[in-house]
Amino acid sequence: MTENLEVNLSPQDKKDLDKYIKFLCLKSIQVIVQSRLGDKVRTKSKPSTTGADWFNLGITDVPRVLAEGKRTISGQLPSLGQSLCVEISLTTSEGDSMILETWCLGMNDRSEADIKVSYTVYNRMGILLRSLFTLTRVTPAYRLSRKQGTDFVIMYRIYFGDVKFEGLGEGFQVMRVGAVPTPIGTLTMSAAYRTKLTIPSDGYAGLQMKADHYMANTPPRYISRNPSEPRFQIYADDLPADWEDPLQEIGVGSCSVSPPNQMTFSRAATQNDLQQFTTAAIGEQGEHVNLSAAPKVGAFALGKDVVGGDDGKVCNVPFELLTQQKAEPRERASSLSPFPASEQTGAMFDQSDCLRMTSYGLAGSTGSYGSQLSSSPHEDFVVVEVQKPAFGKCDSNSDLGTFYKECQNPPQLVTFADSKQPCVTDTLASFSQDLAKYEDNLDEFDDFVLSLQEDQ
């Protein structure tokens, strides 16, 4: 092994080697991304060599992925400290996201001067790609990608830089795919993948809400839910200079190498025509955006008559307000103008949740729950007349509210108050110990059972 021997390479060999490495990059990207499309791969063997298939392997180029790969590479090849990475992540319909794995093609300084570029290196690259084919099927992301659909989709991102291990959670694993020594260094391919596949229930954009989020003078925001549009989209140029990616906590937006306008997430979804999304959706600085799935229509929502029925709404109206008898004229609902599309700037809210809440007291009554947005939360709700609940107290203004509050604030269970709970691994280990113990004492147990039978 020697230091960089690039100078000893003939110009032709150097040219060939660069070409091989470039196509190894492009084909590797195809193999990885296609394995996450959710479909099985099948390409035909060709006994005759009418066309040149790189590395003598049947790897179809998905045009969109090829374009993305070429755009990322654009003359750059893996080199010392500069690896080509393909990041695979999962995005749920609620907008939660986590990195599942990162495949990395890098180069180290261990070179082999005497190796034949046009034969040995090329063939070994073919072996490496074969290994990549087989190993892309064994990581947890493969099973997930086969199950993707309405609940979650698999996305990919290609960039040059370092693998962001911190985005893979605790207990991630690194798997070596293979290595190909060349006269200018050894090409190495590896994958780092997440082993804990549960999305934590907090700490993500879309799930966080600030206490003052629904300030009366803050216009509600929402994201366009037109299904024909890319589901979430933000343009890098629109971002403020000091924009901070809230998703960075989980590594999705961690792209320190690519300039912002190169940050691209692409959905690995359909077979030939991948729908591409540009970066994850974020509202204005500091605000968290809920990227919920298709618009939901609640029990009290009006149908087509309500203009802008797809829009999100504020739902933090105090519940007691609903029980107040100061009903406003119902006509108000229809007199308010819908929120103009041009003013739709952010994203928020799942209307079905507030509707679920209201339905306790409003069952059986008719009411309007349109998409009106105004500056005061008190005016956001159309108040409907509420019958006195069965078995309710005379003061119907408060009893339902009290009941609701009681439900909301139950006393803490003793179990959860105990801070010294054993962790899962300890519990599992104790199971094993118990099992082993019981096995050792099998005779004792058998005797015990026999003695019981005898007693009977």
Binding site: S45, K46, L135, Y142
Partner: protein
């Protein structure tokens, strides 16, 4: 010359035997198969393309990659089925081992036949277990999938050590290195051999218990 050897050991149910073996042997053959050679003038040759097929298992949570060659698939399935039949002749739990051996032929002087020289041998020792409940089968299905994934990682690691491979031959010697009987692809010459035997019945309960204990101890 000593052949490289690699031995794997696995426990599985009777119905999983074929898929386990196909998963491992197809993965190996995928690495050890080239496109068809077409010799041209002056010793040069061009190489065909090896197609790629994803194959899902029915009884194991596992997908493996194989060459797109129905003939090669059929040939492998035939060998594996023979091994499975031999194993299942034995009542109850049993064990056996099956080897995939790559070799090259060396011409000998007349009247002696060509000598076969193995250069890589993959052996799989298989324990066949009986499971009584559906929950055990479900655990086994996942466990065997995980074990197969581990084996595939081992195979890839071995393949990328880039150890000895027979040189690509000139046209007259092609049949001494590659199996040219397949119409679409060209694997290195290989053969499959196996032997079976019954395992002691006393181990059955232990195997099942170990399966459960391993599951709980993850």
């Amino acid at each position: 010359m000593n052949a490289r050897t690699q031995t794997f050991e696995l426990s599985c149910e009777g119905r999983q035997i074929e898929e386990v073996l196909l998963g491992i042997f197809h993965t190996i053959l995928f690495h050890r198969t080239t496109g068809k050679f077409h010799y041209k003038k002056e010793g040069t040759y061009s190489i065909g393309t090896v197609g790629v097929v994803d194959a899902d298992c029915d009884f194991v949570d596992f997908t493996y990659v194989r060459c797109d060659s129905d003939e090669l698939d059929r040939s492998l399935k035939r060998e594996v089925a023979s091994f499975k039949d031999a194993l299942r002749k034995v009542e109850g739990p049993c064990e056996g081992q099956i080897s995939l051996e790559f070799f090259q032929k060396k011409r000998s002087r007349w009247p002696f036949p060509a000598e076969s020289i193995p250069w890589e041998v993959w052996t799989l020792k298989l324990n066949v277990i009986d499971l009584s409940s559906e929950s055990e089968r479900q655990i086994c299905r996942e466990k065997v999938g995980e074990k197969l994934a581990e084996k595939v990682i081992c195979i890839a690691e071995a393949m990328n050590r880039h150890e000895f491979l027979p040189k690509n031959p000139n046209e007259p010697d092609l049949d001494n290195v590659f199996d040219t009987s397949f119409p679409d692809v060209q694997p290195y010459l290989h053969k499959i051999t196996f032997e079976t035997g019954s395992s002691s019945g006393a181990n059955v309960g232990l195997t099942v218990r170990r399966l459960f204990r391993d599951t709980l101890a993850i």
